[in-house]
Amino acid sequence: MPVPFPFSAIVGQEEMKLALLIGAVDPRIGGVLVFGDRGTGKSTAVRALAALLPRMRAVADCRYGCDPRADAAGLCEQCRARLESGPFKTRSVPVPVVDLPLGATEDRVIGALDLELALTRGEKAFEPGLLARAHRGFLYIDEVNLLEDHLVDALLDVAASGENLVEREGLSVRHPARFVLIGSGNPEEGELRPQLLDRFGLSVEVRTPEDLPTRVQVVRRRDEFERDPAAFTDKWRRKDGKIRQQITKAQAVLPEVGVADQALEQAARVCLALGTDGLRGELTLIRAARALAALEGEPEVGTAHLRRVAAPALRHRLRRDPLDESGSTARVERVVQELLA
């Protein structure tokens, strides 16, 4: 695995970085979609995030890395069975950021019989797939718009239920699989199916910066990194560390961040004005605003928080007008200007 580019050294792309951090603070946000131009560092940002995430505790000898603090419903079968016999032994593990490479076959994504055991010993054993590996972490799909339909369907199903159910070869396995889905892609190479679009909590549009100083800075940092990755990473270690602390703190205070009725009302009004379908938009908007407040160490969600996350939380939920070139972002911004002044 090559050394990842430091997260804090990424120039600009504030919305993308914020969305990723929000996803790290509150996994229930439901995933982040990063869509945009080529060469804007979409993959770089996700891989950088992976290197940044604070470690977490997991049940010591659990192959799914169950959360020791989870209740019975959130545990795998083995852990559930042991729940009675006192507290778990735990270990510190990195938050998994699992790549779902294009061309992956269904058996590897969902899990299947362990080929090695079957061949060498003639035994039937379950070999967990990528979904199991991504449990409590991130599942990253680059070029998500090129993913095969049947894989997308399987993913959506699991992402929605938080549980993966495998039935094959007479094997019946059920294990928790809660992950933050991160998808990236370039709309020019094909649009995303609307069903998939809707499942993402936040959606970010990335553009190449068009002003020269920013572009120069991007190229220079890239060059510096390539010349000496270790030294460059060292140089940014402290800033990365700060962001890591920020995430840890935010995760801790998140349950205490309050949402006043006024904020709820504002969120509802924005969604109503935009005509978003269902309640998911409203819910995501509030959740994202809470995570943002937590990141900033604020005790309560304010209008400013809502304003900042409105576009990523709602722009992909608008009834689609394929010809409205001003795009959903502009529509969201218009409404935000009016209602959240």
């Binding site: 490479p101 079957a118 797939g129 190479e189 010809l323």
Partner: protein, 592 residues
């Protein structure tokens, strides 16, 4: 100041080969646009001679299977050994070397994405057939683009990751010569490369030039930077000279240009280049503004923009809009029995599905030992007295052949942007096109856009699914000039033909008032022009292409009506064409 280098096309191509040979990974590779022939052979042979002996080189054929490209389970070896044996894919085999992508202009979708991922990460991740592998794959790609037509290009995502885009087509055999490079000079340059230093101002100049040329992707200046460094190393220097910077700009930036920068004559105050001016030049902490190097780099790059590209740019097209989009794999309708085979999927065998026997047996093979040892589970092929067959196939093994139905519709809009139309109806015609586009969107059709005015017709947009791009091209469409109706129909027919050849179904939608007054040769003359337009229309009928004619004149015109009849098109006068009528007409025409 050193003068900007002026190289012949062959020298330039040879230089690109040398730069690539020094560092295939950092340069990503070369998109080589050329028909197969002695020139391309020579270029490749020269390149091979420059690469170190023993460097892995692999060829990727057009219809390479995923398993071969990425790697997967080596079934014969697995069965022989009785344990999973992984087979390395082409990409992993080429680690530390290069791959040649054959007929790169026709490669789209998944293989492009695999290549891009390998180029980005320097490794291949495989999650296939019970195996999870990651193998290093640091490589360079030579994309052999044999595209003959303007709309045939290497997929944009791949192109973006290759430093050099060479077009060998203007080079003749007589231009070939021996390059000054040998495997030894290349090796020496490779050793020297880590020490080569580039000045901050030079980086700024390359960034500025990329921006002024309208190159959005930030990979371009990064590649230019690397190319400049390698060029310096190649010449035995450890400091990049300005000449090497301009050279890099010519090689890397010029072929990517989407706009022609406007550079004022030197005496006057330089104006920001159009149409994407760098806004905050003034505040920049790097001394970019008025830097003579920046101008020099830009000038060099500009001089190297190929002439045909210049022509395209002037017409307002630009590469950016012409870049062919590759379709999303899932968007193609998957028919169960017709079309091109498109992989297999695991699943229940339902009526109308076709079993892929080989894949099913492949899927069953590794599990045989396990199954034989199991008692009490009946195989699908157990015979009456309980004897087991040689091979146990179970429901889980079923692999069903999937097909891509390639009969998607491509709606080719031919829009009359001439003066007579523009006067009253161009805006309305645009509105009508938009209505139709919305309809195409619903049906997931592809859309192409042809406009004709003045002297001739032009493909504004090759078939695409991006409605936003279509709408943008439409919005930028200027009006005015004569009505070269015949040229418009002809261009539309050409596109329709291309669509057909790819297995699609074209649908022509002509928006005009039917008053042709420019003949195919670009000369005026109503009679001649009308005659030719009718001839074109008859060809549409002869080729049995579904067509729809929207009359854009304020009152329905007999000419337009006649034209519609000649091409067996549905005739729809615009004054009566509201959204629902247009939609209904398209549906009727397309036979949906």
């Amino acid at each position: 100041m050193e003068p900007a280098p002026d190289l012949g096309p062959w020298t330039e191509a040879a230089l690109a080969a040398a730069l690539f040979a020094v560092d295939p990974v950092a340069t990503g590779g070369v998109a080589l646009r050329a028909r197969p022939g002695p020139v391309r052979e020579q270029w490749l042979a020269d390149l091979h001679a420059l690469l170190p002996a023993g460097m892995p080189r692999r060829k990727i054929p057009l219809h390479v299977a995923d398993g071969r490209l990425l790697g997967g389970l080596d079934l014969p070896a697995t069965l022989r050994a009785g344990r999973p044996v992984a087979e390395r894919g082409l990409l992993a085999e080429a680690d530390g070397g290069m791959v040649e992508l054959a007929m790169a202009e026709r490669v789209a979708g998944a293989p492009v994405a695999y290549l891009c991922a390998a180029l980005d990460r320097g490794e291949v991740l495989v999650e296939r057939e019970g195996l999870a592998l990651s193998s290093p794959a640091r490589l360079g790609v030579i994309a052999l683009d044999e595209g003959a037509e303007d709309d045939e290009h290497v997929a944009g995502a791949l192109l973006d990751r290759l430093a050099f885009h060479l077009d060998l087509s203007p080079i003749g055999i007589r231009d070939l010569g021996d390059g000054p490079y040998t495997a030894e000079t290349i090796a020496a340059a490779r050793d020297r490369l880590p020490e080569v230093h580039i000045a901050g101002a030079q980086v700024d100049a390359l960034c500025a030039a990329a921006l002024a040329l309208g190159i959005a992707s930030l990979r371009a200046p990064v590649f230019a930077l690397r190319a400049a460094r390698i060029a310096a190393a190649l010449e035995g220097a450890t400091e990049v000279s300005d000449r090497q910077v301009t050279l890099a700009a010519r090689l890397v930036l010029a072929p990517r240009a989407t706009v022609i920068p406007y550079v004022e004559p030197p005496e006057t105050e330089p104006e920001p280049p159009q149409p994407e001016p760098p806004e905050s030049d003034g505040e920049s902490k790097s001394e970019i503004e008025d830097a003579p190097l920046a101008d020099q780099v830009l000038e060099a790059a500009k001089a190297a923009i190929p002439a045909h590209l210049l022509a395209q740019l002037r017409l307002g097209g630009g590469r950016r809009q012409r870049a062919r989009s590759i379709g999303k794999a899932g968007e193609l309708r998957h028919a169960s029995l017709r079309g091109r085979p498109a992989g297999v999927r695991r699943g229940e065998l339902r009526p109308g599905d076709r079993l892929n026997l080989i894949e099913t047996l492949r899927a069953a093979a590794p599990w045989q030992r396990l199954r034989r040892s199991e008692k009490g589970v009946r195989s699908l092929f157990d015979n009456e007295n309980g004897a087991r067959p040689k091979i146990e196939v179970r429901r889980d093994d079923f692999r069903i052949q999937r097909y891509k139905q390639r009969s998607e519709t491509t709606a080719v809009f031919i829009v009359d942007a001439s003066g007579s139309s523009a006067l009253h109806r161009l805006a309305e015609a645009k509105g009508a096109v938009e209505l139709l586009l919305a309809d195409c969107y619903v049906r997931r059709d592809r859309v192409a856009l042809v406009a004709f005015r003045g002297q001739g017709a032009e493909i504004l947009l090759p078939p695409t699914r991006s409605l936003v791009r279509t709408k943008r091209s439409l919005a930028d469409l200027p009006g005015g000039g004569g009505t070269p109706l015949a040229a418009g129909i002809e261009t539309g027919l050409l596109l329709a033909d291309a669509v057909k050849r790819r297995g699609g179904t074209p649908l022509l939608i002509l928006l005009t008032d039917g008053r042709a007054n420019v003949a195919r040769r670009g000369e005026g003359g109503r009679a001649q022009a009308g005659e030719e337009a009718l001839a074109g229309a008859r060809r549409v009928r002869a080729e049995a292409i579904a067509a729809l004619l929207v009359d854009t004149s304020p009152r329905p015109q007999p000419q337009a009506k006649a034209l519609a009849e000649a091409m067996a098109a549905i005739y729809l006068p615009l004054p009566y064409a509201d959204a629902s009528r247009l939609s209904a007409a398209v549906k009727a025409t397309a036979g949906l």
